[in-house]
């Protein structure tokens, strides 16, 4: 297989990239200065060599413990549980959370063969025995995310009933239009309405 075919095949293995896009990306790179291509290759190599799951929270980082776990300005009494490390970036972008995180590495899904043993749950249980006062469950608002939240709630109740368990609110998106919202979202917004 030629180097070009090899690269196209590798691109084609990435999620959301079909044959055409793989070919376009390959030929785009071939038109770039060799130094730029090597820089990209080096970045990919560094990620492969240096990034690992944080031994404390499961976040992907090139340091262990990760920057969030080492940051003593963050509130260690609150842990926000997310499905994937990429969810942390979305929460951080909001600038409204200063506690710690815990990455499950997925969500319960019998259809995909994913059970509790496949998630980073043992590590969470260990952390909750320490100084945690609140666990915020930030799994996705999907059926699987809900099942995962239910499982975590039961797990935490077994460990320490004193730990407060909260779940991110669900409902209408900011800037959205009620008229075009779907029934499920409106129902969630009604059940999660709050006093003004």
């Amino acid at each position: 297989m030629s180097a070009i075919d090899d690269l196209m095949q590798e691109f084609g293995r990435l999620p959301g990239i079909g044959k055409k896009t793989a070919r376009r990306l390959t030929y785009y790179l071939l038109k770039q200065p060799p130094g730029d291509v090597r820089q990209l290759a080096g970045a990919v190599e560094r990620v492969a060599d240096e990034v690992e799951a944080c031994s404390n929270c499961g976040n992907l980082s090139d340091e262990d413990p990760c920057g969030y776990c080492r940051d003593d300005r963050r509130d260690p009494s609150v842990v926000c549980v997310v499905e994937e490390a990429s969810d942390i970036a979305a929460i951080e972008k909001s600038g409204h959370y200063d506690g710690l995180y815990h990455v499950l590495g997925g969500r319960l899904s019998p259809l995909d063969g994913v059970g509790p043993d496949d998630l980073n749950v043992a590590g969470l249980a260990e952390r909750l025995r320490d100084e945690v006062e609140e666990m915020i469950i930030a799994t996705n608002p999907s059926v699987e995310g809900e099942a995962t939240a239910t499982y975590l709630q039961k797990l935490v109740d077994q460990i320490d009933e004193e730990i407060q368990i909260t779940r991110l609110a669900r409902g209408l998106p900011v800037g959205g239009d009620l008229e075009y919202a779907d029934g499920v979202t409106i129902a969630e917004a009604f059940s999660g309405r709050r006093e003004m």
């Binding site: 019998p110 259809l111 995909d112 059970g115 999907s142 699987e144 797990l155 779907d182 499920v184």
Partner: protein, 248 residues
């Protein structure tokens, strides 16, 4: 490229690219189909939050001949079943019913199977808290029956003797009970005590259990039967979670 509109149940969803979702649907009019919902993951998607497993809706799709993946244009929600996610036994039962349909439904219209699936999901959704496990088992047995794998539980499959209250061997390869008088082969199966047999009959017929009946060994029995007959030796993924101990 005909546009079709048909009632459908979402069996499974998975992410495709940053913005799209692929759905496995059980359609009422065209059997199981896969469809891509382009842009479904965008915050202001026209699909909103309705494209979730177990939901039923009127799906409008561009059906293409000789294609495995069709394009979903609209999904008008009829009933969402998000609440199945807040109870793990309900969630597992619903997942197993959907997986059975996904793996074994014929590639054509099957009204009976479609109705059975809907009834199974609704029964799980509406079951009283203490009844969830038996409703789940019963719902899955109904799907198994509708798929054409009804076990013979009234008479011995070998000699035809009607079996009343005695125990009997559930012979998976023979497709039902074998009485204690008939020779026991090496085929896979297990002996059922009278209480287990009564429980199995009620679950399989969709009748509620009375207080004297224990469903303790039934998940394993259903799991082994499905594994032998329907999963062709391999396991269905959801089966591993049928045992309540799977979730600690």
């Amino acid at each position: 490229m005909p546009i079709v509109s048909t009632r459908s149940v979402i069996l499974q969803t998975y992410r495709y690219s940053d913005t799209s979702k692929i759905l496995r649907l059980m359609t009422r009019d065209h059997g199981p189909r896969s469809a891509i919902a382009k842009g479904a993951l965008r915050p202001k998607s026209k699909f909103g939050g309705v494209l979730e497993p177990f939901a039923e809706g009127e799906a409008t799709m561009y059906l293409k001949d000789n294609r495995d993946l069709h394009t979903l244009s609209e999904f008008e929600l009829i009933r969402d079943r998000q609440r199945l996610g807040v109870d793990l036994p309900r969630f597992t039962g619903a997942s197993l019913a959907c997986e059975l349909v996904m793996r074994l439904a014929p590639e054509e219209r099957d009204d009976r199977l479609y109705r059975t699936l809907l009834n199974a999901l609704d029964a799980l959704l509406e079951a009283d808290q203490g009844q969830v496990e038996q409703v789940a088992l019963s719902a899955v047995w109904r799907v198994v029956r509708t798929l054409g794998f009804t076990p013979e539980l009234a008479a011995c499959v070998s000699c035809g003797r009607v079996l009343e209250e005695d125990g009997a061997r559930f012979d998976f390869s023979a497709g039902g009970l074998v009485c204690g008088h008939c020779p026991r082969g090496d085929s896979p199966g297990r002996w059922l005590e009278p209480g287990e047999l009564r429980t199995l009959r009620r679950l399989e017929a969709g009748r509620p259990l009375d207080a004297s009946l224990d469903s303790g060994t039934q998940p394993g029995l259903l799991r082994d039967f499905i594994r032998y007959h329907l999963a062709e030796g391999t396991s269905l993924r959801s089966l591993e979670f049928l045992d309540p101990r799977a979730f600690g």
